[in-house]
């Protein structure tokens, strides 16, 4: 029998209120923790992916969507950079690499990125860490596939598998007017490599030599042209793939080599920082109206500035929930005041000082806050785990929400301080409880 027994009995005498109150504190704590943990890890996840590229060149209408589409595979780019333009780029500025990519195809709903072998040899998805193969090798020629770690897990693709790709991405809401995706059964692509995870959106992509993508599309275009021509001549076009000559990379005309984006890294003189050269190159490229140029790092910052507003609102909301959970502690404590007055009077008769009574009530409030904080911590850990799994499955973004000791201590401490403040009013009320008045026979 000690003060703790008295607090425990008091809490358990109104079990429902105790649990509901702690739960409301818990939800507030969890909300706050999830937001804080996710914000940092979300930013880190988005900073991976663009890796060691400085600039992203595309023909998209705005830089943010070019970054989202071409680095994070958010959707298929609507416009492409002409091959002739791509060939002119090295003349505009010195580049360490200019890697053409083509997105817009898919396999089982997963994005396919066509590029050159330099995509693996020069571009690094994470500035600290280049590509690593779990199995096999990088592609060397057209119709070879290298599968990202999550894509491999999702599709079950293994080395040696031969599969057709789908031209076009699954249509999303609002994209019903785009051509329906169709499968190119006539071209089989062979899986030659499986990648290790990179922690970026690239993990859910499948990579192939850009020549293969071009050949498929060239075939589509040439076929459409033939049908059109046949219609004009009044003939029925009988399509016979077998009879057609296979298109080779060398056969491709420049207009059959669209590039949806170019990953670019500005060259730097040995020993000097490239960051000085980036703005100059950026503005030189910007002068060309036929291309869009984006600095991924800046676009991501801009995105987070937008998202940041949202998460500030959410955070403000969490603070409101947090404060209201403080009010619910206060109410829970205050509602039990009638029942408590008699107990306080009895304890005073038994020799408890006003100060002891004050501490007992405050202690009870702190315990409510502490239980709530522990609840919240558990909910936050489970919640961030679930969100992280979801983000990984849907976006391939690897979120590593980390509960830093500082963050944990801050939120726990906050909950306890809140509970302490909320407990002050009931504690003062208990302190001031008149013993003589509350000992009257109540039956």
């Amino acid at each position: 029998m000690n003060d703790w027994t008295i607090i425990r009995r008091s809490l358990s005498s109104r079990v429902l209120s105790t649990w509901l109150t702690s739960l409301s504190v818990g939800v507030a704590v969890a909300l706050m923790l999830v937001l804080l943990m996710m914000r940092d890890s979300g930013r880190r996840a988005f900073e991976r992916g663009s890796g060691n590229m400085h600039l992203l060149i595309s023909a998209e209408s705005d830089p943010l969507s070019s970054v989202l589409n071409s680095i994070f595979y958010a959707g298929a780019p609507r416009r492409a950079v002409a091959w002739t333009k791509f060939e002119q780029l090295p003349r505009l500025a010195p580049f360490e690499f200019l890697i053409p990519i083509q997105t817009g195809d898919s396999f089982q709903g997963l994005p396919v990125l066509g590029s050159t072998p330099e995509f693996f040899s020069k571009f690094k998805p994470d500035p600290e860490q280049g590509w690593r193969l779990r199995e096999g090798r990088f592609f060397e020629r057209e119709f070879e596939l290298v599968v990202g770690a999550r894509a491999a897990a999702a599709t079950g693709l293994a080395i040696g598998d031969r599969v057709p790709l789908t031209h076009g991405m699954p249509r999303r809401r609002g994209e019903e007017n785009l051509p329906a995706p169709h499968v190119h059964d006539e071209f089989k692509f062979e899986v030659v490599g499986i990648l290790e995870p990179t922690g970026s959106a690239h993990d859910r992509a499948i990579f192939t030599d850009i020549n293969g993508s071009w050949i498929i599309h060239a075939r589509d275009l040439r076929e459409a042209a033939e049908i059109e021509a046949a219609k004009k001549r009044g003939e029925v076009h009988v399509h016979d793939h077998e009879a057609e000559d296979a298109i080779t990379p060398a056969d491709l005309r420049p207009d059959e080599k669209p590039v949806t984006a170019i990953y670019a890294r500005v060259a730097s003189r040995p020993g000097s920082d490239a960051s000085a050269a980036i703005p100059a190159t950026f503005s030189r490229l910007r002068a060309d109206p036929s291309i869009q140029v984006a600095q991924p790092a800046q676009e991501i910052s801009r995105l987070f500035a937008i998202v940041g507003n949202v998460d500030q609102i959410l955070l403000a909301l969490a603070v409101v929930v947090f404060l209201s959970s403080g009010v619910s502690i206060l109410l829970s404590m205050y509602n039990s005041m009638d029942q408590r007055r008699r107990q306080v009077a009895v304890l005073r008769v038994l020799g408890a000082t006003r100060g002891r009574i004050f501490r007992l009530v405050l202690g009870e409030s702190l315990i409510l806050g502490l239980i709530g904080a522990v609840f919240g911590l558990l909910m936050a850990l489970v919640g961030t785990h679930v969100v992280a799994l979801e983000m990984r499955a849907r976006l391939g973004l690897v979120l590593e929400p980390a509960l830093t000791p500082t963050l944990g201590a801050l939120v726990l401490g906050g909950a306890i301080v809140l509970a302490g403040v909320a407990g002050l009013i009931p504690a003062v009320a208990a302190y001031r409880t008149s013993v003589a008045r509350n000992l009257r026979p109540l039956g």
């Binding site: 029998m1 009995r9 304890l347 008769v349 038994l350 020799g351 408890a352 006003r354 000992l439």
Partner: protein, 240 residues
């Protein structure tokens, strides 16, 4: 729990001197007590009709109410001269209280109710458990871990008695302890209280409006409403 030793060397359990008390705002209600002294271990019945302030006097003695004038000493110490916290601690160690409605801590076991009294006493913590169990055992409470609300009324009263003497007080104040009992149970209850106080060396100041209680006390003190012409205290020992 054993019979008390010689009590003559102990200070008076209670000395009340010229106490006047008036409830703030309540016109006319109050009390006056000229003089009342209880020797160590002495048992006194305080009688008076309702409204004469018997309960109020007990609360003044316990230091729960402050009189407008006069002096109350318990075990040789002036109760109202002590500041709040010291007075609370003093009450916890020297004064036990028994109520008509028991005022047990609901939701707590019989054992915990007695332990709660010990928590605020000056007895060493290591003795709490043995002291509480011993008292409850001697008062015939076997199920010490039962919640008090699950005990019979008679058992609840025993718990209340055990709690009042747990801290080995110099003085037990019993406020109408038998008022809600039938005559037979009332007799048993008062016997239990008297005997327990005797065994624990505590003086007893018991209030009752029941005339049949008079025969059980060697000394009876009548309390009259102030202004009635009878200055309470003047009839000390008169009805015995």
């Amino acid at each position: 729990m054993t019979a008390t030793t010689n009590t003559s060397d102990r200070p008076a359990a209670l000395e009340v001197e010229g106490v006047r008390f008036q409830y703030p705002g309540a016109e006319g209600f109050g009390l006056e007590m000229g003089s009342l002294v209880l020797a160590a271990g002495e048992q006194v019945l305080l009688t008076g009709g309702s409204g004469t302030g018997k309960s109020t006097l007990l609360q003044i003695v316990a230091g729960l109410l402050d009189p407008q004038s006069g002096r109350v000493c318990v075990a040789g110490r002036d109760v109202h001269a002590m500041p709040g916290p010291a007075r609370d601690r003093f009450r916890g160690s020297q004064i036990g209280m028994i109520f008509q409605t028991f005022n047990l801590l609901q939701g707590f076991s019989a054992l915990e109710n007695v332990m709660a009294a010990l928590m605020f006493s000056t007895l060493p913590r290591a003795e709490y458990d043995a002291r509480a169990r011993g008292l409850l055992g001697s008062l015939g409470i076997a199920r010490v871990t039962s919640r008090v609300e699950n005990l019979s009324v008679g058992q609840q009263q025993r718990v209340a008695v055990a709690r009042a003497v747990a801290c080995r007080p110099a003085l037990v104040l019993a406020d109408e302890p038998t008022a809600s009992l039938d005559p037979e149970n009332a007799r048993a209850a008062i016997e239990l209280i008297q005997q327990t106080c005797r065994e624990n060396g505590a003086a007893l100041l018991c209030t009752s409006h029941d005339p049949s209680m008079r025969e059980r006390f060697a000394r009876v003190q009548a309390l009259a409403a102030p202004g009635s012409g009878v200055l309470a205290g003047a009839g000390e020992g008169g009805a015995a």
